[in-house]
């Protein structure tokens, strides 16, 4: 077990790579009641075209299957795992993103027992045709719920506009039609491909003893017989640089319009320190441009083009990335035009001052401190960073190192009119 100390933050992180390939991290948090643990596989909605172990041909699986599998893993021959966790005083949950599926619990007692339950249930799939069929009704309602949600439709509409081929454009839950094709055998095939310990990361944060936790996990894993796995082979089609569609307008049952401007990233094949610097530089850039202290925010707000739903974000994973800006508005077309102009202007030399950069860096450093108050944030983000070969605890030093030139470079790479796209939700006539 390795111990890594972060002096400024006053945190210690313990790490071990087990024999079967599983990465285990423990971050003790004194004074907290809660222990929070996530068990995550590097497998999400984009992994729909891959080579199953021992097979010669790549397979394509139905949209929404990673999320479907997440649901089904909770069901066992003797009942569902939620029941077991709550008997042990814990609350359990799971989520599927573009690139990850995470299973988690939090509890203030019986931590050892709950951790054992978490690891064992994820490593012991039980899929039958009957339970798979039953789940289709439940997930069908989840999909319908999102269909009625204008913010979700807007967000996915924008991503669909950006990508021509990349599976990030597919809704994580799939469609009622696509999930109707899922069978238990497909679930097993996905499971065998992506749930090997060498593709997974276990993170435990809370008032725990790292030695004891590590030895428990080691013992648990040594009892299970995992064969060595070759590297997972995924396939993605070639993706053009420009946005697939420039604009989409969705008519929905709403009273207020919504508008997002998106930019498809051109730097999507990064990882490690390069990715961290790019991602943080772009986050700083967007904050400088559109944060509440920015001139743009004031002018948009004063003109009545935005309200307090206005937000901005940059997302990047291996293979795709995008920025988005917008929110509720009374004039979606004018907001779209104004935001695009503001973005293009940001590429000009001298658009950003050193003083604004310094202030924004301070803001981001403070925001990081606030974020690491949260065990959930630490476990989920650490995992995301690790899957991209980055280190969450490099955030503050990297922020401190960002120069005006870094931000200008990042802006120069990101901002390009051919990669702009707009999605709007407007009231149905």
């Amino acid at each position: 077990m390795e111990k890594i100390t972060f002096d400024q933050l006053q945190e210690e992180l313990y790490y071990e790579n087990l024999e079967n390939g599983l990465d285990v991290y423990v971050l003790p948090k004194k004074g907290f009641n809660k222990t929070y643990a996530t068990f995550t596989t590097k497998y999400g909605s984009i992994d729909n075209h891959f080579l199953p172990p021992g097979k010669d041909d790549f397979v394509n699986v139905p949209d929404g299957i990673a999320h479907f599998l997440e649901h089904k893993l909770f069901e066992k021959e003797d009942g569902d795992v939620f029941q077991q966790f709550s008997k042990q005083g814990a609350s359990a949950n799971a989520f599927t993103s573009f690139t990850r599926t995470a299973y988690l619990f939090s509890s203030t007692s019986n931590v050892e027992l709950n951790l054992e339950t978490l690891i064992d249930f994820v490593q012991d799939p039980y899929f039958t045709e009957k339970t798979v069929e039953k789940e289709k009704g439940i997930i069908g309602q989840e999909i319908t719920m999102y269909d009625d949600n204008p913010d979700w439709r807007l967000y996915f509409g924008l991503i669909e506009n950006m990508y021509k081929n990349h599976p990030v454009k597919i809704d994580i839950a799939g469609t009622i039609e696509s999930i109707s094709h899922i069978t238990k055998d497909m679930l097993y095939e996905c499971y065998e491909t992506f749930y090997h310990p060498s593709n997974m990361l276990l993170f435990i944060v809370g008032p725990v003893d790292p030695d004891q936790i590590m030895s428990q996990v080691r013992t648990n894993q040594s009892k299970k017989d995992y064969k060595e796995m070759p590297e997972i082979k995924r396939q993605f089609e070639e993706e053009p640089a420009e946005a697939a569609e420039k604009k989409k307008v969705l008519e929905m049952n709403v009273q207020t319009s919504k508008c997002l401007v998106g930019i498809k990233s051109s730097n999507a094949n990064q990882s490690g320190k390069e990715m961290l610097k790019n991602e943080l530089s772009l986050n700083v850039l967007l904050d400088i441009l559109f944060g509440k202290s920015s001139e743009h925010y004031s002018s948009l707000y004063n003109e009545g083009l935005i309200d307090d739903t206005f937000s901005f974000d940059y997302t990047q994973e291996q293979g795709f990335g995008f920025a988005m800006v917008g929110g509720d508005t009374n004039d979606p077309d004018r907001l779209a035009d104004t935001l695009q102009k503001m973005l293009l202007d940001a590429r000009e030399k001298g658009a950003i001052s050193q003083e604004t950069l310094d202030r924004t860096k301070k803001k981001k450093i403070g925001a990081f401190l606030r974020a690491v108050n949260s065990p959930e944030y630490i476990a989920n983000q650490f995992t995301r960073y690790a899957f991209n070969e980055m280190d969450l605890f490099d955030v503050v030093p990297t922020l401190e190192s960002i120069t005006l030139e870094d931000v200008e470079n990042a802006a120069g790479h990101l901002i390009s009119e051919e990669r702009f796209t707009v999605c709007q939700v407007v009231p149905k006539k």
Partner: protein, 426 residues
Amino acid sequence: MAVISESVKAMNGFKLHVVKTEKYKTNTLVWKMKAPLEKDTVTLRSLLPHVLQSSSSSYPATGKLRSYLDELYGATLFVDLAKKGEYHVITISVEIANEKFLSDPTPLLKKAFQFLSEILTKPNVQGGAFDQDTVEKEKRTLKQRIQSVYDDKMRYSNFRLVQEMCKDEPYALHVHGEKEDVDKITPESLYEYYQQAMAQDELDLYVIGDVDEADAESYARELLSLEERTPQAAPASGGRIRESVNEVREEQDVKQGKLNIGYRTKVVYGDSDYYALQVFNGIFGGFSHSKLFLNVREKASLAYYVASRLESHKGLMMVMSGIDNSNYDQAVNIIKEQLEAMKNGDFTEQEMEQTKAVIKNQLLETVDTARGIVEVLYHNVVSGKEITLQTWMDEMDKVTKEEIAETAKKVSLDTVYFLTGKEAGK
């Protein structure tokens, strides 16, 4: 197990609550203003904190004010409104980095107090009126905020249930006020209301973090001095009992139907059977091991979400679920059957123990966040009780099966609201 310890002291016109803990890397100040929920003031109160946080006398432009917060290592300023029983509560909070985790050791806590004091007591006012521009902008945003509830069908159906169920009670008011009252507000009338609220509201300041209690007290005394007051009590909320169930059906262009059911529990925070009510709600619908989740979702596959929750100060329980429009009868029947089962004591010791453990876990997790600590402690201000978290957990442990069934029998169905899609073929 660390259970929170709160020190409370009377200051000039408000109470100071200090919760000292070393577990955070930031310090948090939470300012609460409480007054009875009333039609005449609800919209003014909804607008007020948004105007206060937009500008002040030293920072007359929002950009300047926000730049100052960025300089303070991204201190956050956040305002919020809530209904707690028949009270309307304004929350203004400031969270600031603890400098011991920064490479720059300049002390920050006092600056947070100074800033909060500036926002509260030195607003951007000229000639007995708030800055006109600020008020007009915030009125526009408030109208959009009120309107936006319509666009989120889950929030909308919950709001509509309360509106139908509590018709003629203050609780039916929307937390953000009434859209048609926004335009009537002027910079003068809002300033007048600000003075009234600062003079009459019940005020509490919570300070959470690794702070020195004496420092916090001296900052609070030095920077915030308000008139003494006797807070107004809201009229007793009463549990109106309907003779027959109120069924409301509304048609809209939605794919998924939203089923929201309201019950009167006749039990509020601080009552002796409040703990039994908590356990009842947990077995019935509060969690993913509860009867509603098992029967509506897992067994019948009717829903993705189905849950019940309590409004502790008003004595309400709300069930919410998203279902296919055609499954209304089946879902309502299953939910009714589960409540009957609770009344008949048809649940096991194990379900009860499991639920107690999960509620206890939830309480302890809540107080792992600064915001959660305030939420838990503020129940006592709203109810005028003094119940510690430890007492809460101990009393819940003692609850018996019989007490749960007795409490369940008090729970009466009031209103069934269904937001349904338009009929096929139309």
